[in-house]
């Protein structure tokens, strides 16, 4: 630990990146198309009766989650993001689900007669 780790900026990384980028462009277009398709799919599925309202909500949320995942993973480059960003997001996800889940639980378990 006596030698401090280097903190010098890296410069040549960018060239490297630019090369990669051109390969991705096609991918972005495909993902855009997929998203449009999923949008049409949700609209369609919302007119299909899955038995209960709850089931319909669940189906729609699954599709929305897939779409959101695609946006985050591809457009927001989470597929190639650094560990640190993941850490921040994991905690955020835990807390936001904690908020939903605990409020739901409190709603579900009141003192009633």
């Amino acid at each position: 630990m006596n030698n401090p780790p280097t903190t010098e900026p890296v410069d040549h990384e960018t060239e490297h990146y630019a090369h990669d980028v051109s390969k991705h462009v096609r991918g972005y277009l495909i993902v855009g198309g997929t998203l449009l398709f999923f949008t049409a799919l949700t609209v369609f599925l919302s007119y299909v009766n899955f038995g209960t309202q709850k089931a319909n909500v669940a189906v729609a949320m699954v599709v929305a989650t897939i779409k959101a995942g695609l946006v985050a993973y591809i457009f927001m480059h989470l597929s190639a993001e650094k560990k640190l960003i993941y850490r921040i997001l994991i905690f955020t996800a835990i807390f936001v689900f904690g908020l939903f889940w605990l409020i739901y639980l409190a709603w579900y378990d009141p003192v009633v007669h």
């Binding site: 009141p110 009633v112 007669h113």
Partner: protein, 277 residues
């Protein structure tokens, strides 16, 4: 156990007047002993260290400091005691408060409706059935919005401010509120519960002492909050019957007259603020 309780008395806790109250007192007194022990222990250590290691007595500090694992043991002990209090006392006690409601048949069931700034009590009357209430029907002469078209409401009693209950009987109070959140708090009975508009929340207790007790509103509800005082009178069974009879007679010819508790407290504004804020 009584000898342990002196810590609560020392701090001014009033006498308990309900059947479950002693359990609440126990958990508070255990907490206080536990906290007291930690506080005294740490304080003794603290004062000793400040004296022993002051600069003039200990000019050169030790780089290492304490190496023993004493703090780990201490922390473990704290965890253990808290776990015992939690699992052994607090959780079961709460479960009994909110799940083990006494049977309606052998309990006195009362509805309490909070408003800025007093309590209305709704009793089912001789037929034992509560009449329907509707917010749209609320008026000055009908403070809880009792529906006169409902046959069950004909013999219902509405009393303001003061509630009588017989001693040694389970009492269930179903709390509601017309406007903002209030809290029906009976310090002597060791019981309290929020009255939240839109919800009806029950609470129960069993008074074991006769007497007159204050009902505190334990939630800020506006400018008259400090004076929102109710009265709980715990009667002997005979007195209770007499009170009930008197109430029924009164309700026969006029709608409920203001009970003592409904008189605005000294210093309360004469005209209420429309916002109530």
């Amino acid at each position: 156990m009584t000898s342990l309780a002196f810590i609560n008395e020392l701090m001014g806790m009033p006498g308990n007047a309900s059947a479950h109250g002693y359990q609440i007192d126990h958990i508070i007194e255990f907490c206080h002993w536990f906290m007291g022990a930690l506080f005294v222990g740490w304080s003794a250590f603290f004062i000793f260290v400040l004296w022993r290691f002051r600069k003039s007595r200990n000019p050169v500090a030790s780089h290492e400091g304490v190496t023993s694992g004493i703090s780990t043991h201490l922390e473990f002990a704290v965890v253990l005691i808290e776990a015992v209090l939690l699992i052994g006392f607090a959780i079961p006690l709460w479960a009994k408060r909110v799940n083990a409601f006494p049977d309606n048949k052998d309990a006195i069931l009362v509805h309490a409706i909070g408003q800025q700034f007093n309590w209305n009590f709704h009793l089912p009357g001789p037929d034992g059935v509560f009449g329907r209430r509707d917010a749209a029907l609320v008026s000055n002469s009908n403070p809880i919005g009792l529906d006169p078209s409902d046959p069950a409401s004909k013999d219902d009693l509405v009393v303001m401010g003061e509630l009588h209950v017989p001693v040694d009987h389970n009492v269930i109070i179903e709390l509601a509120s017309k406007d903002v959140i209030h809290n029906f708090c009976l310090p002597s009975m060791r019981i309290a519960q929020d009255a939240i508009p839109g919800l009806i929340i029950p609470m129960w207790f069993k008074p074991i002492k006769t007497g007159t007790f204050e009902v505190v509103c334990g939630q800020l509800c506006g400018l008259g909050h400090y004076g929102m005082k109710g009265t709980l009178v715990v009667d002997t069974p005979d007195e209770y019957q007499a009170w009930l009879k008197e109430r029924i007679e009164l309700s026969g010819n006029q709608s409920a007259p203001p009970a003592p508790g409904a008189v605005p407290p000294a210093g309360a504004p004469k005209t209420a603020n429309p916002g109530g804020g």
